[in-house]
Subunit: 111 residues, 2 copies
DNA sequence: TCAAATATATAATATTCTTATGTATATTTG
DNA sequence: CAAATATACATAAGAATATTATATATTTGA
């Protein structure tokens, strides 16, 4: 089962940030594969969603990039900036809090 | 603290459906107020997001509507259809599953 | 050798929300 | 009793973001 895209939309950036926090340095394709593996295929990030998000994070100064060549193939690594580390903590805390609220909402029993 | 709008986007319809499941019959304004109360003001649905969503649910046959007059003021009640009840269960299950996956992702510890 | 996997990127389109606006009635407070 | 606030629905213009498709190129394995 794949999750509906609306669900992923709201959490996409937080997922990216969390992975960068744990792995220090990652490239786009690696992020899609890691998310796919960690979620047993339930979350499959598409390029059309991932790259614009990564570029936005870069423009906001949340991540910095380095380009490397693996043979002749280009690879762009993303790393959290100092500001990005702070931002990441905030986003993760917000998501944890949000999930607690949602859990409460979904737990409400019929009268 | 208010949650960022992206987070709410993904779960808006599921929240509406869950409330309709528990309360049988609700009108738009009532939904905004109930969500606000249940979340201690952390989720504040705007009309611009709520009404288009409700109209979409109606167009999809997930909810049916009845209009009533309270004095001279109009009030539009929304109720889950039979198909809507099934759909609601699916959406709730999906969200619960998704939150478990997110919890797992967020729990990953540094190596 | 050729298909699949690896790897990044963008453009056109679609979707959906934000913000603002509009309409109208009802209630509370100074 | 006037003004402010709350109730109640709705839509439109613009913004933001994702989907889908496309483009390019290398590497690996059957």
């Amino acid at each position: 089962m794949l999750y509906s895209s609306e669900l992923i939309k709201g959490t996409l950036k937080t997922i990216i940030l969390k992975l960068l926090k744990e792995n220090k340095r990652m490239y786009g394709y690696e992020i899609t594969q890691t998310v796919k593996e960690l979620t047993n295929g339930k979350i499959q990030l598409t390029e059309g969603a991932l790259y614009p998000s990564l570029h936005a994070l870069e423009a906001e100064g949340i991540v910095t990039t380095e380009t490397e060549y693996i043979g002749k193939r280009v690879r762009k690594y993303y790393t959290l900036s100092a500001a990005g580390k702070t931002h990441t903590k905030e986003k993760i805390n917000e998501l944890v809090d949000f999930m607690e609220t949602m859990r409460f909402l979904l737990d409400i029993k019929p009268a």
